[in-house]
Symmetry: C2
Subunit: 155 residues, 2 copies
């Protein structure tokens, strides 16, 4: 299972501490540069207001199985969290597509460090991706709560 | 960028034609078997009602850049669609977590073929993953529309 980079992400975040906790917490414009040999796969992309963006966390720790989060004093499993550190560091962001400039997509909502390899782009579809009734006793249910890193429980 | 299987998916779908068009169109229970060496990463997983499940489409065609979809007579780019065929065949499903049985998670909403390698599991968080106002001129905005494969446009 070997991945090919379909492009590269240009972002203002050079180091982990500069990136927002979640992409949707920042209004920064990010550029997804798609390599020319994959540009044909962008056909009709502007039909989508939002995209699911998958990128490779090339600076992640793949050995981490549990970690503290901003919301918990005690470590939780990485599969229970959104930690960038995990056995396969494939990050998933829902991005707002602002505009297309040839083989580049200008988006908001992506928390990738500058230079991260781009892996995949998919149309976001509310009917299949939006589950408003989902509950989560671990991650706050508002962007403000996530930004503040308020603890939900330490039990 | 090499992936490790964190587990394997057991589903009733042996061939492409048997799987639902989208995981959320079926109530079938699917088993995510996590390999023992990664089981520690499941700690507290039952705090989540829904999970983002990433798996490897090991029977996908990685050369496909455009394809017809159930919703269009003319081919669209695979980055504009949810086609399983794409340069990096990483499938993303939002699954309902029904229960945990040791290192297995019983879920609904996953369209994987039986035996597909499991790549990652993340907590689904409505605050960051649910964008009800997203628009998409390509994929129908209801599950019924997706099931029926109704054409949205052919322009």
């Amino acid at each position: 299972m070997e991945l090919v980079p379909i492009g590269v992400i240009h972002s203002p975040y050079q180091e982990r501490g500069q990136a927002p906790r979640q992409g949707r917490l920042s209004d920064n414009e990010i550029t997804l540069e798609i390599h020319p040999q994959f540009a044909a796969a962008l056909k009709n992309i502007t039909r989508c207001s939002h995209l699911i963006v998958l990128y490779w966390g090339d600076r992640a720790n793949r050995e981490t199985l549990q970690s503290r989060t901003p919301f918990s004093e005690v470590p939780v499993g990485v599969f229970t969290s959104r930690s960038p550190n995990r056995p396969n560091p494939i990050a998933v962001c829902v991005a707002d597509l602002i505009r297309q400039e040839e083989n580049c997509l200008i988006v908001r909502g992506v928390d990738a460090l500058d230079g991260s390899p781009l892996l995949d782009i998919k149309a976001y579809a509310p009917a299949i991706d939006c589950i408003p009734q989902a509950t989560n006793q671990h991650i706050p249910d508002t962007l403000d709560g996530i930004a503040q890193g308020k603890s939900l429980h330490d039990r």
